[in-house]
Amino acid sequence: MMTHVMSAVTRIKGRSETSDPTPGTVDEKSLYKKRKRRQGLRDDLTSFWFLLPILAVFVILFAVPLVQTLIYSFTDFNGYSMNMHYVGWVNYQKVFTDSSTLQGLIFTVIYAVLQTIFITVIAIPLAVTLNGKFFGRNFARSMFFFFSVPSMAILGLVWRYIFSPMKTGLVNSFLGLFGIDSLPWLSNSHLAQGCVIFVAVWAQIGWHATLYLAFLQSIPHDLYEQATVDGASKRQQFVHITLPQLVPGIVTSTFLLMNGGLKVYDLPFTLTKGGPGYSTYTVTQSIIQQGIGQSQYGVGSALAVLFTLATAVVVFAQMGVANSISRRFQ
């Protein structure tokens, strides 16, 4: 047994001596470089095989449709005939002159920004509270998390009954108990916008609080102990320890919220169908409606291309700002 081990060691040693010489002369140096390059290529190839499945999925499900969308955006493709014609920038012009799309864009941006702000502002204190010790803590954590389990489409349908503008609507019935007149929750444009944002915030707070909770639990406890010894108040501890330590979590959470908010479709569609008028209409709804529902693939594709670019700009800008903040706190 020992002999086998020794001979294996010798073999490895011998191989390393011949295959990996210490670079000395010019010839040896170039040989060394060549071998290193070959080794690198072999490693790259191994990585490539591991990456191939996900690369294939990316190309088939993302890159190909993206290129197709770009092509369709310059054509009059109607979804019924492959005999399409090049129409130049006409579809892009239509996007910029269509008032409903522009209204959809405004609400989408308002929705994405407000839900990001509200959820971040509420989820962090909630996570801090859930991180403390109190009776029923696990139940409270589960309860907040479970808000985010049902799909947004189902929540939209449920909240539609709750916010019904009729006297029999749940919220209006409750207000009626105190003699307060019914409010036009979903039939007034501004209230409807508020309802959509409220439900989005309500549904996602728990999930993001759980995310922050995970980050909170990784903060070293001795930081708080030292701060307590130094006489720092709870507020000071929150501002000077908790918040800076949570920056990576804030970056992740806000990135997900902005990205998801800009692509929102299901909640406004089921809660208000984009109405009243176009007050809760979103860009994604416009893309789906014009592209698929109305067989205007050219216009829908142009809108999708522009929206992809706009989303990329917003998300990269957000990442840039978040990274600079992260560096400040490192």
């Binding site: 009729m166 208000t272 109405g275 209409y281 067989s295």
Partner: protein, 414 residues
């Protein structure tokens, strides 16, 4: 080549072979085999609703097998199949796709087929272009006013007036008695009254409906303006709450079955709900816009069966047999029993008592109108009118702006 590599290569060849074989089998799935013809039928209705027809047809035609398919997103799935050269032999043509199916040559001209002889004119008109008929529609639907007899009795009225002025007067009376007179679902179901009024206007003018979709400059908003102006009196006179912009069809049903509103607009598809509710209800024609005008209804022929223009020979014969079967007495009775208001000449549907008046006066006579059936780009029109109607009811736009916006949307989509 090492054994491992050889084994992998062999496996790859076998797998590819299996894939090619299965794809080839797919390609042959709708061809004739052993003297039997397989007909692909892609339906708007699900398997449960279509099973009886398919089974009976196969029983009567043992040499034909139906390969049935359906989808909840029917229009999009059919569109994908057509573009991908996977057209079904028989499929459904409906208001959302008829213009595209006809103009792209996907459907066969059925004008002179023997099975079209008894189809009513209004149903033929629905799927016609340039005097050619491309589908066989055997039934129609018409909406109307569902009313609570007991609530109307409280103000001494036992039926819905036949004119719009009479209807507005009744609403005033009900409101004065503390009863919510009327509600409509402007969140998802706009234009019931307006379409009925517009149908009446077009009938008075003697307009050829099949020409509307061919007009170079389409102005559905401007065309319907008079109808909208009359309808808006409901809101201008404060008879109905503007909160209807947030109300859905389901909300209306809940209000009506709870006895909280005297009248709503609805149709035969919800009759079972009203029956079960225990409310003493009736169903009336939509009032005429003006004295001297006919009482039209918002309604439409039901989706029609169409035959693919790509098939021929035994398959075409089988498809024609299938359409002949779908308007046979057995089939029409089955449709009628299932709640459809059949409009085929020589056949009477056994409709519920409340529906009889509207069935006789609107459905069977073709006195119904659905704006989106007669303009190109029905989906664009439907979405645009819904959003603009909501803004009109809210008071955020004027009637002129409504008309301009709807016309602009249609012009952009053309």
């Amino acid at each position: 080549m090492s054994i491992g590599k050889a084994a992998k290569a062999a496996l790859a060849i076998i797998a590819s072979g299996a894939m090619v074989a299965s794809m080839a089998a797919c390609g042959n799935s709708d061809s004739a085999s052993g003297g039997k013809v397989t007909l692909t039928y892609f339906s708007w209705n699900n398997e449960e609703a279509s099973k009886a027809y398919v089974n009976e047809f196969e029983k009567e035609n043992p040499d034909i097998t139906i390969d049935f398919g359906s989808s909840t997103s029917y229009v999009q799935t059919l569109q994908t199949r057509l573009v991908g050269n996977q057209a079904p032999d028989v499929f459904i043509i409906t208001s959302e796709n008829k213009a595209d199916l006809i103009s792209n040559g996907y459907v066969k001209d059925l004008t002179n087929e023997s099975f079209m002889k008894n189809i009513s004119d209004a149903n033929k008109e629905f799927v016609s272009k340039d005097n050619k008929v491309y589908g066989m529609s055997t039934s129609s639907w018409a909406s109307g006013i569902v009313y609570n007899k007991d609530l109307l009795k409280k103000v001494g009225v036992d039926s819905v007036p036949t004119t719009w002025d009479g209807f507005l007067a009744l609403c005033k009376k009900l409101k004065a008695a503390g009863i919510t007179p009327y509600l409509e679902a402007n969140a998802d179901d706009t234009r019931r009254i307006q379409d009925a009024f517009y149908g009446g206007i077009l009938a008075k003018k003697g307009t050829d409906l099949t020409k509307l979709s061919e007009a170079k400059t389409q102005t559905p908003g401007t065309d319907e303006k008079t109808a909208y102006k009359a309808w808006m009196k409901l809101y201008d006179q404060g008879l109905v709450t503007r909160d209807t912009v947030g109300m859905t069809g389901d909300d209306l049903k809940t209000q009506f079955t709870g006895g909280q509103v005297a009248m709503i607009t609805d149709g035969a598809w919800d009759f079972s709900t009203f029956k079960e509710s225990g409310v003493n209800w009736g169903f009336s024609q939509i009032p005429a816009m003006e004295e001297g005008m006919e009482q039209y209804s918002q309604g439409s022929p039901s989706p029609a069966w169409a035959i693919s223009s790509k098939i021929s020979g035994a398959k075409l014969k089988a498809a024609e047999k299938f359409l002949t079967f779908m308007q046979s007495k057995w089939s029409l009775k089955e449709q009628s029993d299932g709640g459809d208001a059949v409009t085929v000449k020589g056949f009477n549907s056994n409709v519920v008592d409340q529906y009889k008046n509207v069935y006789e006066k609107n459905v069977k006579t073709g006195k119904y109108f659905l704006l989106t059936n007669f303009y190109s780009k029905p989906s664009v029109l439907s979405t645009a009118t819904q959003s603009e109607t909501q803004q009109l009811v809210q008071g955020s736009i004027t009637l002129d702006q409504f008309a301009t916006n709807v016309d602009k949307k249609i012009a952009e989509a053309q």
